[in-house]
């Protein structure tokens, strides 16, 4: 066996192992019709009355997120992870977000609400736009009922790069929903200084918004190849972090 064959063998083995382990984590993959397309949802079922609908634009490859989903389902929180990019045959680039239709997002939320569970939405980075878009449209179509809330991790919702000395402009969808929102931001990112400004914008249509800073981590810490010790620790405890986030949102609903 020459070196090239050996390397090819090793690469194929690693990919196969990762693929099998990923499939093993999700207990069910359901395909639903969403707007003009079909979307595969990885479902991590649970018997509790909480359902967390995530929008990872990851082509089905979010290892940290899947482990977290598995852990949450063991604790009674059902998690759905639709594969949005594959559903629209889009590449994993930021501009792909515009190719994901609001109808598809709404259909997914509809499907989740049919379970009768309290539905929370979650996304990170620029994908948080999908949560706001889906929730806003869903609220327009369902005036007499509401979603339980949304967790936006490291939301990146600037319209353009902010100009020093000027108030930042946000994407049009910011401030269009009434959904209770919890913002999570890393301490070691300049975006933490924009959290109050973003909270203010998100509240414009009546959303109650809370924000929490996660100490000693950078943005996207759970996706980083160069994660430091603090980031590794928080990644391994992400299920706990999300449960605390849901607790804050529930507290908000109780007070209302």
């Amino acid at each position: 066996m020459n070196l090239r064959t050996l390397i090819s063998f090793l690469v194929i083995s690693v990919i196969t192992t990762l693929t099998i382990s990923n499939l093993a984590l999700a207990n069910e993959v359901r395909t639903i019709e969403a707007g003009d397309t079909e979307i595969d949802i990885r479902i991590f079922p649970a018997s509790g009355n909480t359902l967390l609908l995530g929008f990872p634009c990851d082509e089905g490859k979010s290892i940290a997120e899947e482990k977290t989903a598995h852990s949450l389902s063991e604790d009674g929180i059902e998690v759905w992870m639709p594969d949005m990019l594959s559903g629209f045959m889009l590449p994993k680039v930021r501009s792909s977000l515009t190719g994901i239709t609001t109808d598809a997002l709404t259909a997914l939320i509809d499907e989740a609400t049919k379970t009768g569970k309290n539905v929370y939405l979650i996304a990170s980075g620029p994908d948080t736009e999908l949560v706001l878009r889906g929730a806003s449209n869903w609220e327009t179509l369902h005036k007499n009922t509401s979603l339980a809330g949304a967790v936006l991790m490291f939301p990146r919702l600037f319209k353009d790069t902010p100009v020093p000395g000027k108030k930042p402009e946000y994407k049009k969808i910011v401030g269009q929903t009434k959904l209770p929102i919890l913002l999570l931001e890393g301490e070691r990112t300049p975006n933490r200084w924009g959290i109050n400004s973003l909270s203010h914008e998100l509240q414009k249509n009546g959303s109650p918004v809370k924000s929490k800073i996660i100490p000693n981590v950078r943005g996207y810490f759970f996706k980083r190849q160069d994660a430091n010790r603090s980031e590794d620790v928080v990644t391994s405890q992400m299920a706990g972090l999300i449960k605390v986030s849901l607790f804050y949102l529930q507290e908000n609903n109780t007070h209302d």
Binding site: F158, P162, V163, P164, G165, P190, W193, G194
Partner: protein, 167 residues
């Protein structure tokens, strides 16, 4: 054909470089915010006291890759500004003194590093990304802003900033 392509590629590179080093004229009709902070040696710096000098106010952080990369060019910028009255005030964005001291030991900036653990100035100056830069003229007005890392010692930037001293 090859010659045309080469010219096209060269033009594109020059355009990208020019864009990277683009100081944006500050058009907001707002007064320059106050800035009074202490440096790593305990000395208080008040922007007001630097009237008569051109001042580069930079907001940066140790975790910001472009900030780390551009600091040597800021050291060189000081040399290239020559006799033009010029000062750099680099405001760290809310980190601890221990973190910043370690960074300074490694990167060795030749300019004042101001500490703002509370983040008060970051809000006052409407900074939402790092590095965020403000060029203040000798009269104390913000004349240019620049977001992102650049080579501060480029002739293009140096000449543009030096112009503020004579206007």
């Amino acid at each position: 054909m090859i010659k045309s392509l080469s010219i096209l590629v060269l033009s594109l590179c020059l355009t990208l470089n020019a864009q990277a080093a683009n100081l944006k004229p500050f058009t907001a009709n707002t007064p320059t915010p106050a800035l009074k902070l202490t440096d790593l040696h305990g000395k208080t710096h008040d922007l007001h006291d630097y009237k008569g000098k051109i001042v580069l106010v930079q907001f940066w952080a140790t975790y910001c890759g472009p900030c780390r990369k551009e600091m040597p060019s800021m050291n060189n910028m000081i040399k290239k500004m020559g006799n033009t009255p010029f000062k750099i005030l680099a405001v760290d964005m809310g980190e601890t003194e221990a973190e910043v001291k370690q960074f300074v030991k490694e990167v060795k900036p030749d300019f004042s590093i101001l500490m703002d653990e509370s983040g008060q100035s970051i809000g006052d100056w409407q900074v939402f990304a790092a590095p965020s830069n403000f060029i203040i003229d000798p009269q104390g007005n913000i004349r240019y802003t620049l977001f992102g890392g650049v080579e501060w010692d480029s002739d293009e930037i140096i000449n543009k900033i030096k112009e503020l001293a004579v206007n």
